[in-house]
């Protein structure tokens, strides 16, 4: 029993190192990378880690390929998924400010994401700029959109169409967001 505990303790440490420290351009680790280092029982290691992180208000978040929601994932789906450590609960406006977000910028991001979701995930950049210009100074609008793109919340194609990008899928509960917005 003790040996088994030790076995998982060392795997947990390795999982923490891999998930907390950025290894690639994007944060997060692919399932197959975790399998390579932690072994085939990596989903169990992540489950234990998630349990430990609960006390710290953090969680292990799984984002499946093509941002699908999967109820009972197969090992192939897990291998292709990306795993992140995210906040489990919520931030207060004061805390959001502390991590570098001004209320204007955060509101702009929220409006942009909501608008893109309402338009089936694709909107011309000009439309978003017009929407934001209503409440934000003109010079700031384009800068903000570029910043959202740089952080990975949005992406833009060659026809200046905006889409939601990997960070939005990893960090934002889109369904609850829209529901809350409409019930306001």
């Amino acid at each position: 029993m003790k040996r088994r505990k030790g076995y998982y303790a060392s795997k947990l440490k390795r999982a923490v190192h891999m998930l907390f420290y950025r290894r690639h351009k994007k944060p997060g680790v692919k399932g197959w990378e975790l399998r390579k280092v932690l072994g085939t029982d990596y989903p169990k290691v992540l489950k234990i880690l998630d349990h430990y992180l609960k006390a710290l208000d953090l969680q292990v978040k799984t984002i499946f390929e093509e941002e699908k929601t999967v109820e009972r994932p197969t090992i192939e789906q897990l291998d292709k998924a990306r795993f992140y450590i995210t906040l489990r609960g919520e931030l207060t406006p004061k805390e959001a400010k502390m991590i570098g977000w001004r209320i204007d910028d955060l509101a702009g991001l929220a409006v942009t994401i909501a608008y893109i979701i309402s338009k089936k995930g694709k909107v011309p950049r000009k439309e978003v700029e017009e929407l934001l210009r209503d409440k934000l100074p003109g010079w700031k609008v384009s800068l903000n959109i570029d910043r959202y793109i740089r952080y990975g919340y949005l992406t833009q194609d060659e026809n200046d169409q905006l889409y939601l990008d990997w960070r939005t899928h990893a960090e934002i509960d889109q369904k609850t967001f829209i529901d809350m917005l409409l019930s306001k």
């Binding site: 944060p27 450590i85 995210t86 209320i103 509101a107 929220a110 409006v111 809350m180």
Partner: protein
């Protein structure tokens, strides 16, 4: 009655108009149901028998292509409306215009779970960096011009060159063929399903020989004497001898497969860990 030329002109204009309409819907994310697909198909059908020259046929094909994209967009539209994420865009846009900054931030913070990541130097990486710095030569030494010294030329025998590994004992092609034969024999003896594990074939008692065998194996594969079979999930590589050398491997795009044959891998193989 309209002349044939006049009719063709009208037909081309109509197809152009359909293409323009489809393009504006595709590019500006407009409602794809704005396009009357049935009407457009009727127009395409009406003029199709009259197209004779390739340019007109291309225009016809382009119209069909754009129309197909519109039908795809319509299908996506219907699919999206049936999902739980669908909301009336006008209703939501209206909300977004009138909602207060603080209100939307308050909602957003409830559903936003930012990724946690750290950037930090470890003691180990600092020590590693220091070791590297100590062993790094100054630039003026690294970039110093190579000093050429004149040496007298002399004679060397073929045996000496073979000893120094500049010349080989056998011609390379002959060596490759005997190696191919060895592969076939090994597969018969130790392999299964006509193939053998890569490491079981290239591995030798000493590391230098292992590298030499891996080098020759790479030529066996390149010249079509054998093929590699990779099982990514099991992380296994197999070598499969071909009965006859395959000169051109179908029309598939050829890929290079780097296989590390490090001393550590070799040691693991010797211990039976690979």
């Amino acid at each position: 009655m309209m002349s044939k030329r006049g009719r063709l002109k009208i037909g081309r204009e109509k197809l152009q108009r359909i293409i323009e309409m489809c393009k504006s819907v595709e590019e500006r994310s407009l409602d794809p149901f704005l396009i009357d697909v049935d009407g457009a198909v009727r127009t395409i059908k009406e003029f199709f028998p009259e197209w004779k020259i390739p340019e007109d046929l291309c225009l016809d094909a382009e119209t069909v292509h754009h129309l197909a994209s519109i039908i795809k967009l319509q299908s996506e539209w219907v699919k999206h409306r049936s999902t739980s994420l669908y909301t009336d865009p006008f209703l939501l846009a209206e909300k977004l215009v009138y909602i207060e900054k603080d209100e939307i931030v308050e909602i957003f913070l409830k559903v936003w779970h930012p990724i946690v990541e750290m950037e930090q130097l470890s003691l180990h990486s600092i020590a590693e960096a220091l070791r590297y710095w100590e062993s790094l030569l100054p630039l003026n030494e690294r970039w110093r011009e190579v000093q050429l010294t004149e040496i007298k030329t002399g004679l060397v025998t073929r045996e000496e060159l073979i000893k120094q590994r500049i010349f080989r004992e056998k011609a390379f092609s002959k060596e490759l063929e005997s190696f191919w034969k060895e592969l076939k024999d090994r597969v018969k003896k130790d392999g299964r399903e006509g193939k053998i594990r890569y490491w079981d074939f290239v591995g030798a008692d000493i590391y230098e020989e292992t590298v030499q065998r891996a080098f020759l194996t790479s030529f066996l594969v390149t010249y079509g004497y054998a093929s590699l079979e990779i099982q990514p999930l099991e992380e296994e590589i197999f070598v499969k001898p071909n009965e006859n050398p395959v000169l051109k491997i179908s029309k598939k795009q050829l890929v290079s497969i780097p296989i590390a044959v490090s001393a550590e891998d070799w040691r693991k193989w010797k211990k039976g860990e690979r």
